[in-house]
């Protein structure tokens, strides 16, 4: 299994912090220490109503592979440029980009959710 933000968190945090990874960071942390710091920051940002990049991204794994590290014809998203990901999703949502599946899925996400998705996938090590 690949290391994930949730992995790091649940290993280091113990039972008291188990729920924190669910509240999720906008971008995945690079190290366990970053993860712990992100976890605290995440709770604060969630209270402000920020979109949950990790929870949103989980729904994408079925086609784009675990953590977006797809290996087939469907493009991998892990480690792609954040700005390009956001731009592509925004264009799909606006009906301005050709595609098969994504022009149908993207309109169901807000611009805030698109930004959170782009940031999350961009932060995954491919």
């Amino acid at each position: 299994m690949p290391d994930t933000p949730r992995h790091h968190l649940s290993r280091i945090a113990g039972a008291a912090l188990l729920a924190l990874p669910l509240l999720a960071a906008a971008g995945p942390p690079a190290t366990a220490e970053d993860a712990a710091q992100d976890a605290v920051a995440t709770c604060l940002s969630c209270a402000g109503g920020g979109a949950d990049g990790a929870a949103l991204a989980a729904a994408c794994f079925s086609c784009h592979g675990p953590e977006g590290r797809g290996s087939g014809t469907i493009p991998a998203l892990a480690g792609e440029d954040e700005g390009e990901l956001a731009q592509a999703l925004t264009a799909y949502a606006a009906g301005e980009r050709e595609g098969t599946i994504m022009p149908r899925l993207a309109p169901s996400y807000s611009s805030e959710e698109i930004a959170a998705l782009a940031a999350w996938f961009a932060g995954v090590t491919p």
Binding site: A15, A19, G72, T73, I74, Y109
Partner: protein
């Protein structure tokens, strides 16, 4: 009133179970029934979120046989190995696998009984048990009759049986496909099956025909299927819809007769897909609340009648999400996150879930329905506008791309779940 009271009790009752176990340092025990799309996704995600929890998956089959892509076996696109997945990948991921058939569930104690008589205790139970086939709904049909007239709606030996009967049929024969009233597993599945059987016949036995006896009037992706049939298999497929007495009411495996209220037909190969309900295990435990399928809380997939018991996949009434392997896997991931949040004493943030369901009309002709669903306290509903099917009249390049994406999706998800 009754439902609200149950729901309220359910929310309260499950919490005290978890807290003492964690406080004492004992591992929380979560029993998962079924290692299919839902069960495997749930077990992996819960293990990732709560490595300390003891997750035990109970599965009666020694390998998982996928219904998605099983129509490709019938069409000769690939062999059974493409849809057969060993379960040791779950073990390698750190999840305990217990072979056996669960024969009973006690919702009050969350313990399950295996056919061996063994009892497995758990703090929580996740059921992803799939469907039961209602053989008795069709006069003359039975598990024994299905050895002659396969349903192939639970993949594995039945898939191979139907494939072998198609291969043994002489050119010029009639294949009868019977489709039940909804709801059933995989709404577009019967029509993909018709398409890929037609592909096989057009290639190997072009004088043959397919007679579809359908209890439904309209069906999933109807325009897309009919467009592909006209282009790829002209004159080969005849369909009698429900409004013209298409529903099959009786069969006779001895004479290969298939009967509607209006007509008797003689089949060379008969594929009889009977009406369906949630698995007998779930219904016998009362989880269907008399509905045939199991009502669940939309945010947690917890049974509305049994606190601490969760139901996902085909057996559940998951709002507007269709009964598909893709849906089951998405529900498994979300359900694990909701349970982990509850155990950790945190709020669960409702998710957006996806279902993308590909169908193949031919090896290089694919199309799809793709929707995003919002989880809310009131239900799981498709987000509109947005979503929908491949457009009618799409060009060959689009259909070829969707067929390629279908293969990519299948390989990606199955290797994630069982690899």
């Amino acid at each position: 009133m009754m439902m609200q009271r149950r729901t309220f009790i359910g929310a309260l009752a499950a919490l005290p179970l978890a807290a003492p176990a964690l406080a004492q340092g004992a591992a929380l025990r979560v029993t998962v029934v079924g290692a299919g799309y839902g069960g495997a996704a749930f077990a992996r995600e819960l293990h990732r979120l709560l490595p300390e929890a003891a997750v035990t998956v109970i599965e009666r089959e020694s390998a998982f046989h996928s219904c998605p892509f099983s129509n490709g076996v019938l069409g000769g696109l690939w062999g059974e190995e493409r849809i057969t997945f060993a379960l040791d990948g779950l073990t390698r991921a750190g999840i305990a696998l217990r072979p056996g058939e669960v024969t009973a569930l006690d919702p009050a104690t969350r313990s399950v009984t295996l056919a061996s008589g063994e009892v497995v205790e758990g703090d929580f139970v996740l059921l992803s048990p799939g469907i039961s086939l209602d053989f008795a709904a069709i006069e003359g049909y039975s598990e024994a009759a299905a050895e002659v007239m396969p349903h192939a709606w639970q993949a594995g030996a039945q898939t191979a049986l139907l494939r072998d009967r198609l291969r043994a049929m002489e050119d010029g024969g009639t294949v009868v496909v019977a489709i039940p009233r909804p709801p059933f597993r995989c709404p577009p599945g019967p029509y993909e099956r018709i398409s890929l059987i037609a592909h096989y016949l057009a290639t190997e036995k072009p004088a043959s025909r397919i007679l579809v006896l359908d209890a439904q009037d309209g069906f999933s992706k109807q325009g897309l299927f009919e467009e592909s049939w006209a282009a790829l298999y002209p004159g080969m497929i005849e369909r009698i819809p429900g409004s013209e007495s298409g529903e099959v009411v009786a069969v006779d495996p001895a004479t290969m007769r298939v009967s509607t209220a209006f007509d008797d037909v003689s089949a060379d190969v008969a594929n009889i897909i009977p009406p369906q309900r949630a698995s007998a295990l779930a219904r016998e435990a009362g989880l269907d609340d008399g509905l045939g399928w199991c009502p669940v809380e939309p945010l947690s997939f917890e049974s509305t009648v049994a606190p601490g018991v969760f139901v996902i996949g085909d057996a559940a009434i998951a709002g507007e999400m269709p009964k598909s392997g893709f849906s089951a896997a998405q529900q498994g991931t979300a359900c694990a996150a909701a349970l982990a949040a509850r155990i950790g004493g945190a709020d669960y943030a409702p998710r957006k879930l996806i279902n993308t369901c590909y169908s193949l009309a031919a090896p290089d002709w694919g199309f799809s329905v793709a929707d995003v669903y919002a989880q809310t306290a009131g239900g799981i509903t498709a987000i509109r506008p947005g979503g929908g099917t491949t457009r009618l009249g799409a060009d060959a390049r689009t259909h070829a791309a969707e067929a390629e994406y279908a293969r990519s999706w299948f390989d990606s998800l199955t290797s994630e779940l069982w690899g």
